[in-house]
Structures are given as structure tokens and as C-alpha cells.
């Protein structure tokens, strides 16, 4: 940590200070220093740029840019801020993509949504937003959404025209004598979900892949600023339905930090318990999807069977199987009736009785091993450079897990170990999912036992301890929070204004964004039949890809 501060102090900084346990927070005065600071930070070991998050301060006429650097090895992190002028002619800054490849899509996103121009970026095109926004910056505070969306069908027509133009250009650009072509993989491919990969291929060999994303773009980050702090959890949990509880936890932690509220031990254990139940249900889907994409549907069916029992617990606790809205700032939304644990016990018993068969038939499956062992290999070096996280990072042997690195909720009291694999192939990522599934169920058992003991001894009151009051109006401030989501690291950056009733800005850094960025790199030189396999092994959800 000290070495990061030394580097920053050698430049012209407004402030350099410690933030939480594993962060340094600093603000650069001049944007001209950025490149040289970034180079020194990289030499110092901060190899991943987690995300780039602009905040538009309309009244101060400032576009503030936040860079979040991470070192996955030594767990040192840096939050670097920088002010830019708002005017579109001067709102520009040097791109960090040549130094940190992980910045690539994040800078494109900042360019698309806020109109920040990144100089010397290798490929500065629009991303996520649809073609009718070309040349506009929808996330700027002075953007008039209502005027733009008045005639929505004309906007749809713009999108259709752009698509047709692209298809026509493909025909012209490609030499008719060669066998090169551009295929659209998705958005209706059964394995793809709402994403389209433009696959440039020669016969069966892939030359390159350019993902076209934004098919489920809901502008969540903009939608949240229209809601109050409690109402925003509805949007936050729809980041992705497969694991919605951990994303609510991240948001709630950021609000609690600004409001300066501390939650009760019961609430923090409930967050662990519910979060792991959501992780289990998500991992079950992930395991099933992997085999589905290889053409075998049995595992998905088996997993769905066990998963239902975990959803039963969520349903009895919150009333909804999936959209639970059960974590909110101040704790968890509902008290706990201890009889609900009977359903959880049933789920655990079902899991314990069926997981052995899954391991014997699918995880040790010789055909799967042959097929997936040398496909989609990611080295540890690439994990650092492209800022990958979650099971993808751990499958390549990088020890990163926010539950251990920066413990939240009650994870500090649990004795967790990093689960890692060595080689980083598709097979390793599949096995990671399986081992994490078992780890999550162990955590559920521990958390359940802990809550039961403490309730029995009277230390926790399950019907009263679940919430502490969070004021409706929050002071001016900003906070970041990180959680280990089912798919990887989620970082939320929340900004509030004076006497705020609504969030001023919430940036959500979602892991699938980085993982999708890797598709081109992983699939070059492979064949078309590898696309579903590698895509499935990266455990991508379009919900958090587009937001």
C-alpha cells in the first residue's frame, strides 16, 4: 500500500488517503499525468483495471472519471479520480487500453454513454447502446430521454436500417472468390441468449469475433437514479436473475456506508445464507448450460431438480422464487420463521444425496474431458491483464475471491479457502463450478447452524433483528462496495448529493462484460463448433453484460 502512495505522492495530487482496508483513494490534479502514473502503477504490480466510471456533475460543469485498479495477487487496490471539463470538445483523456487491456470495453462504454473521448484508443466504437443513440450521450444528466424516445418506432427503424446496412456491407467487403464469410451467431441461437457474435470465418476456421451486445440493455444505471434508495433494489436485483441476492447485497453495503449504518449480526448471517443459496441456484444453471452446449441435456435436468428445493426455501422466506427483493439497505427485508429452515434442510439433504452421481457421471466424464481439456485456455497472465474474476480467474490458478480478500457480511467469521484449478481450460472452469457448488452448500450448512445456535441461546432475535433503520435522506457522499457474485466480482460505485432521496449515480461493474471481451481472443484459430463450448464455459449472463 505504501508503495502505491509513494508513487502517487510523486505526482501532483489533490489528496492521497487510505480507504477501507485494502484501498487507496487519490485524486490527480492534471490529466496529463495519467499515462505516466498508470505505467508506474503497472510496474508496481497493479495489473488489472477493474472499471472506468464517469460521473456527470452538471452544476459544477465537471465530468469526474473514476479508475479502479486492482492487484489480484497482493490484494492492493487503488481508486483514482480525475476531473475533466464537460464540454464535448475538451472532454477527452489519454486511453489506458495500450497499458491495461482490460480497459478496452470499459472505455468504450464510457465513450458511448458519457461522450468521453479516449485518445489513442485502438477501437473506439459505440458499445451496448443501440444505433438510434449514435452521436448522443444518453447517461449525461442533460440528455433529454423523453424527447428521444417520443417516436420509438422510428428508433427501431434506425436499428433495422443499421443492421441491414451491416449485412449488405459484409457481402461487398468480402472477396467473392475466397471462402471467407461473416456469420451471425445469435441472438436466436439456442445456446447464445440475447447476444450476437459476428463470427468472421474461413470455412470452419474462425478468423475473429466481434460481439454485438446490448440486446437486453435496460439502462439500469439510469433507471436507478429515478428511484428512491429502497425502490432501487428492484432494479439492482434485475442485474441478473440467476444470482440476484448478492447484487442487492453490494448495493445495500454502499448505501449503508454513506448512511453510516451498521447492520446486525443476524442480518449479516442471513446475507451470507441467502447469498449462498442464490449462488447455488446460479451454479446449477451454469453447470447445466455447459453440458447443454455440448449437446447433452441430462445434467441440466438433474440440476433443475435439485435447484427447485433451494428455490423452495427462497419462496418460503420471501414469497418469490427468484425476484426475492429480500436484501435491502439496513439488513434483510423479512424476519425469519425458524420453521423455514426445514425447507432448507430438505434442500441440503437432496443435494447431499444426489451430488455424488453428478460427480461420477458428469464431472469425471471421459468424453467431456477429452473434448474440453485443451479448449479455451486462459493463462494466469491473461487473467491479470484482462481483469477477469470469479470462477474464470480461479480456474487459471489466480487466488482471488472477494469473500476472502475483502470480507463483507459475515464472511470474515467463516474459515474459507480459495478453490483453484491449474490450467484454465474449459474443463477446469466446469470443475471449478462443481467444487464451488459444494463449497457454497458447506457455507449454507455453517450459516444455518450459526443462526440456529444463536437463536437458541437468545443472542439473535430472528423476527426483530433483521433490520436497522436507514434514513430516507442520505448525506452527500460516495462509496464503493465489492461482492463475490456467482459470476465474479461486482463493484458498485454509488454517488449521492446533499439530502439525497435518490442515488445520483450508480456504476455497476459486472464480470460478464470482461469475460465476453475475451471471446475474440479465445476463439481465434478455433473452429465453429468450439463457440458454444467456450461461450458456455465462460459462464456469461446477458443481464449483467448489458445492464
Amino acid at each position: 500500500m505504501q508503495s502505491i502512495k509513494d508513487i502517487l505522492n510523486s505526482f501532483d495530487c489533490e489528496f492521497v488517503e487510505d480507504y477501507k482496508k485494502v484501498w487507496v483513494k487519490a485524486k490527480l490534479n492534471s490529466k496529463d499525468d495519467l499515462l505516466s502514473v498508470a505505467k508506474k502503477l503497472k510496474e508496481n504490480g497493479l495489473r488489472s483495471l477493474s472499471t472506468v466510471s464517469p460521473t456527470d456533475f452538471l452544476e459544477d460543469n465537471i465530468m469526474e472519471i473514476n479508475y479502479f485498479f486492482e492487484d489480484l495477487d497482493t490484494k492492493r487496490n487503488l481508486w483514482l479520480k480525475l476531473d475533466l471539463p464537460r464540454e464535448s470538445e475538451t472532454c477527452n483523456i489519454e486511453s489506458l487500453t495500450p497499458i491495461f487491456p482490460s480497459a478496452n470495453w470499459h472505455e468504450r462504454e464510457a465513450y458511448s454513454m458519457f461522450g468521453v473521448d479516449f485518445l489513442n484508443h485502438p477501437d473506439l466504437r459505440d458499445i451496448i447502446k443501440s444505433e438510434d443513440f449514435t452521436g448522443k450521450s444518453p447517461f449525461r444528466k442533460d440528455f433529454d430521454w423523453e424527447a428521444h424516445e417520443k417516436d420509438n418506432l422510428t428508433n427501431v427503424q434506425t436499428i433495422v436500417d443499421a443492421f441491414k446496412k451491416e449485412q449488405a456491407e459484409n457481402e461487398v467487403d468480402l472477396d467473392t472468390d475466397s471462402s471467407e464469410t461473416i456469420l451471425n451467431w445469435g441472438p436466436t441461437h439456442p445456446a447464445s441468449g440475447p447476444i450476437r457474435l459476428r463470427v468472421h470465418c474461413d470455412g470452419e476456421d474462425i478468423i475473429g469475433i466481434d460481439p454485438d451486445i446490448g440486446y437486453v440493455w435496460r439502462a439500469l444505471e439510469h433507471l436507478i437514479t429515478k428511484k428512491d434508495f429502497i425502490g432501487a433494489i428492484v432494479s439492482v436485483e434485475r442485474l441478473c436473475f440467476m444470482d440476484n441476492i448478492n447484487s442487492m447485497t453490494a448495493y445495500a453495503m454502499a448505501v449503508e456506508e454513506i448512511a453510516d449504518v451498521k447492520i446486525t449480526p443476524f442480518a449479516s448471517w442471513m446475507r451470507v445464507l441467502l447469498g449462498e443459496v442464490a449462488r447455488v441456484s446460479s451454479h446449477f444453471m451454469g453447470l447445466g448450460m455447459f453440458f447443454n452446449n455440448m449437446g447433452l441435456h441430462t445434467l441440466a435436468m438433474w440440476n433443475m431438480d435439485t435447484r427447485e428445493f433451494f428455490l423452495d426455501f427462497l419462496e418460503s422466506y420471501s414469497g418469490a422464487r427468484i425476484a426475492t427483493a429480500s436484501v435491502e439497505p439496513g439488513g434483510v427485508r423479512y424476519g425469519l420463521d425458524m420453521a423455514m429452515f426445514n425447507e432448507l434442510q430438505l434442500a441440503i439433504e437432496k443435494f447431499d444425496s444426489s451430488i455424488g452421481e453428478v460427480e461420477a457421471i458428469f464431472v469425471k466424464n471421459p468424453t467431456m474431458k477429452l473434448r474440453a481439456v485443451d479448449v479455451g485456455v486462459l493463462s494466469a497472465q491473461e487473467i491479470h491483464e484482462f481483469g477477469l474474476s470469479g470462477i474464470v480467474a480461479r480456474a487459471s490458478g489466480v487466488k482471488t475471491d472477494i469473500r476472502i480478500d475483502e470480507p463483507y457480511a459475515a464472511y470474515a467469521e467463516l474459515d474459507l479457502d480459495y478453490i483453484i484449478q491449474k490450467d484454465g481450460s474449459a474443463k477446469d472452469r466446469f470443475e471449478m463450478l462443481f467444487h464451488e457448488l459444494k463449497q457454497s452448500v458447506n457455507i449454507i450448512k455453517k450459516a444455518k447452524k450459526k443462526i440456529e445456535e444463536n437463536v437458541a441461546s437468545g443472542e439473535m432475535n430472528p423476527t426483530k433483528d433483521h433490520m436497522v433503520k436507514v434514513p430516507k435522506k442520505l448525506p452527500k457522499g460516495e462509496a464503493i462496495s465489492r461482492v463475490e457474485w456467482a459470476r465474479g466480482e461486482v463493484l458498485m460505485h454509488l454517488v449521492t448529493q446533499e439530502k439525497a432521496k435518490t442515488p445520483y449515480r450508480l456504476k455497476i461493474r459486472a464480470p460478464s462484460f470482461n469475460h465476453t471481451m475475451m471471446l475474440d481472443h479465445l476463439l481465434q484459430g478455433q473452429t465453429l463448433s468450439d463457440i458454444p463450448l467456450i461461450f458456455g464455459s465462460l459462464y456469461i449472463c446477458q443481464g449483467d453484460l448489458d445492464r
Binding site: K129, S130, D132, P138, W145, E146, H148, E149, N152, L153, N155, V156, Q157, I159, V160, F163, P187, T188, H189, P190, G193, P194, G214, Y215, V216, W217, R218, A219, L220, H222, L223, K226, K227, V234, S235, R238, C240, F241, M242, M285, A300, M301, W302, M304, D305, R307, E308, L311, R321, I322, A323, G543
Partner: protein, 157 residues
């Protein structure tokens, strides 16, 4: 002659195949309805990867501006007779994304649905109930809503 036509309606209704196309998050509960506990194959439903063999198109939740042309193209590729089932609050009025201006709030004005299934997301039981409703409509020989009107007929996609 009348009896034979009735038989074809009956045969159509008891083997509904749906185009595998997800526009939003409700497809997760659709997957659950396919799973062993609810097992919609008991009722003759089957997802098919190609719209060319499908009878039913599901609008699974939100429809963004960008995916609408793909949805309409998928619908156009399906053979007649074809039916549309709208899942979730989003496909009715935008649901939780009603304030989000990048989501289409009236997808069924563009592509009228025969059956709406309420919920966010609807439970698997509700989805099966809704599909049974489609069966009933087919048996009664009611023409599909999208063939009777909707903005999609005037749109280019």
C-alpha cells in the same frame, strides 16, 4: 367433414412446439417449467431451436428496442398457424422497467399476444396454465391475435 377439421385442431393443440428465443429474464422460469418438477413435456410442449418448426412464440419478459426486429423476424419465419404467449409484467407494460426509456413498453401493441401470463417472473405453474389456455383457443378455432392486427404488419424488419 366438420369432424375431421376438429380433429386437426385437436392434434395441433396437443403438440405445441415453441421457438427457443429469449428476450429477457423470464426465460429462467421457462427453463424451470421444462425441468423435472414441472415437466411441461407432459402436456406436449417442446422447445425447438428453429422457428421454422414452431407453433408458439414466447415473449419472455422485456423487449428492448434492439431485440424487437429479431423478435419480429423470428415470428415472420414461423409457419401458420402461429400463436404468441406473453410472459411477465414487462411484456404487458414494461413492468419493473416501466421507467426505463430504453425498453419498449407496449410490445404487444406491436405483436399482439394470445395469452398473457402475469408475474415477475411468472411461476412455472402459471406458465403451464397459460399454455393450456393456448390449447383451448386452438381447439375452439379462435384465430391468433397477431394475424388479426398489430403494428408489426406495417413495420419493416
Amino acid at each position: 367433414m366438420l369432424k375431421i377439421l376438429d380433429f386437426f385442431d385437436y392434434a395441433k393443440s396437443e403438440s405445441l412446439w415453441m421457438a427457443h428465443f429469449c428476450t429477457g429474464c423470464c426465460s429462467l422460469e421457462m427453463a424451470a417449467a421444462m425441468g423435472p418438477r414441472y415437466d411441461w413435456e407432459r402436456y406436449g410442449y417442446l422447445p425447438t431451436p428453429t422457428p421454422r418448426q414452431a407453433d408458439v412464440l414466447m415473449i419472455t419478459g422485456l423487449v428492448s428496442k434492439k431485440i424487437l426486429p429479431a423478435l419480429l423476424r423470428t415470428y415472420a419465419q414461423m409457419p401458420e398457424p402461429k400463436y404468441i404467449v406473453a410472459l411477465g409484467a414487462c411484456s404487458f407494460d414494461g413492468g419493473p422497467y416501466n421507467d426505463s426509456l430504453s425498453v419498449i413498453k407496449n410490445p404487444t401493441e406491436i405483436l399482439p399476444a394470445d395469452v398473457f401470463i402475469a408475474g415477475c417472473p411468472p411461476k412455472p405453474e402459471a406458465i403451464i396454465e397459460g399454455l393450456e389456455e393456448v390449447k383451448r383457443k386452438i381447439k375452439e378455432g379462435i384465430p391468433s391475435a397477431a394475424s388479426q392486427g398489430g403494428l408489426w404488419q406495417e413495420m419493416e424488419f
